[in-house]
Symmetry: C2
Subunit: 497 residues, 2 copies
């Protein structure tokens, strides 16, 4: 079950998928679990998620949202109430059918347990794949008048989708996410909320994760099951594939109608409530890894690095106290402004320590030996540069701040340049197919196709319509190079995770 | 299913259980859900949990712990590996048996779904009631040498125990908690960790929640299933019952043996690893409600109140802009130091606003009208005092800080006094029985009984041995008033949630 981790990280250009798995394993972010499709988020992986969560949560609250918590279990019958929703989720649900185990003797003669037939539930429960149904059931209890609106609730939770093919962070049976669920008196207000949260996601992706994204609207084929419109932020991975990094849905009145949630308007009329939902997940961790990391291992943007600065004291036995004292003084000078760690492990030499922290993506390493101390300096190495340079111990915090800010900015510039260099405007279907084979990327197309054309293209090239970018120049007079039909909107096509 | 909420809060002395449900409902903290035994944590209830979580998480990290995340599902066979553990949890497990639904026509002729028999799992999965088994399975992969120890991991998660009788926050089928799981090279180190985390819990209970607790060790009868020793913090509720508010377990080598987790010691010997686990849950929210609230509704310690100060502007139409401007200036002066809200809802008069915020437990209310503004004052009302008084707008933040600090301190003093006043040293079993009937409380007893005596006493009086307090004066020469036997340790008995 567990894949053997090679001693060195596979190079990206040799095997991109193997590289990704090697990077997250060597960085000690994740491990296989005994449960099919579920991963253990180890401390170094979970800490990256925690940092993202805090950045998102602060922005949710700043835009007027509050957190709440709804049950993990959903009565099975709820799923059928919204026709498209059940279609989208019924095939990948974990189903709870019993509430007790009983003791038996196993085939090996040892004590074992089995589900107690007498504890069978009258109605099975679904482990939530998403919470629209149970939340709209509750909103039906809470909403009566326009005065009860809007409801602006977010939930941090685990969800389960029984995926057949999994990949750590990107697609797992259980994953962690947040799901916002809002209720509004008008369609306009709900659409504005949908787009506001898309902006929040894009801002966190670019400013915090240094991951450039394209904001756009999904085609009907790629829409959330039960949505009127799905908006997305699409990120570019180093192999030229797209990654859907977050979605925000305008749900219209679909769930309000399925759960019969109405309100009395200020004008005294009873109307169905308008809804949105929006979510990002631990998938974002995968997006960060795939965007920034290199053949030496993980690269993390300083804004979300669990350790931003590692100090490695370098000494012979006689100098130990002297050097450790100086290292601690340096750490004290940096703490409060940065997440700092001194690596004072005695059973490892400096070399293996450098190697370990590079693989774990620590943005800045400071080496400190007796000669550095004598000169009032530390030796610095940024994760994304190959040179080492000296910085003065006096006033080090300000220098570190600049170094980390520069690195954060540079990561976004690099990632944007990489994406833009592989964003194509092709002249024909053949050119698209050739580039997808040779150097895949984003294909910006004045699209003229319909649903059937979209299906056919996917079948033929495995590229999907990632989104209609919100930034839409006119397509008037343009012909779609992929279908030969008159273009109706600019679209991005790509292969995607 | 849903209990009707009366228009006024039932008085404590009339019906304590009804009072508790009324308080949390009127404070809008919780609602019934369509899933048996599961509650919805509404924003005002969840925010209290968030504040507790942040206080705990900071202390976990300060004592060297890191967070991680393990799967929700546990293979059924894992549960049987530790004999006492399966005994403790098998009877209240949610069991996942299928991973897909299929469409059927319901009895009413409508579209419905049912578990797809073809998706039946080879081995059922348990929804975690606690995570020792899956975590020790993983530790077996991670631990090989003394250099891998200690492991100091905490997890914030939801867990499920199929409880027959539930009460919001105190006992629900699903609840939120944290579970620390640590691995150590020696028994001494594990015991020290167990007691350290008990201290962390006690400190948060007293300093943050203003809930006084008694630290103690559980009797064998009340121990965690699989532990060598369970330590507890026991809190006193206003009806004289005890509430176990947090537990910290020394697990010995039980789980290491069940999952065969060994390490090579520095001396080169292979030994089983020593373990602890420790947890607190959303039950703490119930503890806070029951400790501090009164017949007017919720009372929250300022340290965890989602809103610490509410400003209610009081005006006639012509004065509106003037008063709102002043209210906003006051809020700006307080924000940053306090969690502040202006209640500028236009469809409510001040009276109903005061009433609502009292019921929701906001520690401090500031009323602001044109005459107050002219005098450079606001009218203040602390949730736990009946008088109103003026405070100067100039320098209001410092005054507010003092008021909230005083209230925080006073809540702990009040709760401690209430508990101490009802902590008895009884002379006989009859006296215990009489007091349990009339004015129940904590019974401090030089206990001489054995397991059978403990069972008999519980059967007879419904009082349980809450703990052997860590603070243990000598019992030499004392006779147990409940059994007539020579005392072996001081114990606390009480009825408990």
């Amino acid at each position: 079950m567990a894949r053997e981790t090679p001693a060195v990280i596979t190079r990206r250009d040799v095997d991109y998928s193997a590289w990704y798995l090697d990077v997250i394993t060597h960085a000690d972010m994740v491990d296989d679990s005994p449960v099919r499709g579920c991963k253990v988020l180890k401390p170094h992986g979970y800490a990256v998620w925690e940092a993202m969560r805090d950045a998102l949560d602060a922005r949710f609250k700043a835009t007027g949202h509050v957190n709440a918590y709804f049950p993990l279990f959903i009565p099975m019958s709820f799923l059928s109430k919204e026709a498209e929703h059940v279609e989208g989720f019924a095939k990948e649900c974990a189903v709870v059918t019993h509430h007790r185990l009983r003791s038996v003797t196993g085939p090996d003669g040892k004590a074992a347990v089995e589900p107690d037939p007498e504890s069978k539930l009258d109605e099975p429960l679904i482990v939530r794949p998403t919470s629209e149904t149970i939340i709209w059931h509750m909103y039906g209890r809470w909403i009566d008048s326009w005065r009860d609106l809007p409801i602006l609730i977010n939930q941090w939770a685990n969800v389960v989708r029984w995926e057949m093919k999994t990949r750590p962070f990107l697609r797992t049976t259980e994953f962690l996410w947040q799901e916002g669920h809002t209720a509004h008196a008008t369609a306009d207000e709900a659409v504005a909320e949908t787009l506001q949260m898309l902006d929040v996601y894009a801002e966190v992706a670019e400013k915090v994760l240094a991951v450039p994204v394209i904001k756009g609207r999904k085609s009907a084929r790629e829409r959330f099951a039960g949505a009127v419109d799905t908006y997305t932020i699409e990120a570019f991975m180093q192999n030229g594939w797209a990654l859907q990094a977050g979605t925000s849905h305008f749900l219209g009145q679909n769930f309000a109608k399925a759960f019969d949630v109405t309100f009395q308007s200020a004008a005294g009329v009873r109307e169905h409530v308008w809804a949105t939902s929006w979510g990002v997940s631990t998938r974002l961790v995968g997006a960060v890894v795939m965007t920034h990391s290199d053949d030496d291992g993980l690269v993390l943007p300083p804004a979300i690095a669990p350790i931003q600065v590692v100090i490695v004291p370098v000494y012979k036995d006689a100098e130990k106290d002297h050097v450790l004292t100086a290292a601690r003084a340096l750490a004290d000078a940096l703490r409060g402004r940065f997440r700092v760690r001194i690596d004072d492990r005695e059973h490892l030499r400096p070399g293996p320590k450098y190697f370990e922290w590079e693989r774990k993506g620590v943005p800045l390493r400071l080496e400190l030996g007796p000669r550095d101390i004598a000169k009032g300096q530390a030796f610095a190495k940024l994760r994304i540069r190959s040179d080492k340079f000296s910085i003065a111990l006096d006033g080090a915090a300000d220098v570190v701040a600049t170094l980390l800010d520069d690195m954060q900015a540079e990561l976004l510039v690099r990632a944007t340049a990489m994406r833009d260099a592989r964003t194509y405007e092709v002249g024909s279907r053949a050119e698209l197919a050739r580039l997808l084979d040779e150097t895949p990327g984003f294909f910006r197309v004045p699209w003229g196709g319909d649903d059937a054309d979209e299906d056919a293209l996917k079948e033929e090239t495995r590229a999907t319509l990632r989104c209609y970018p919100l930034d839409q120049p006119s397509v008037e007079g343009l012909t779609c190079p992929l279908t030969g039909k008159p273009a109706h909107a600019w679209a991005i096509f790509a292969r995607a995770y």
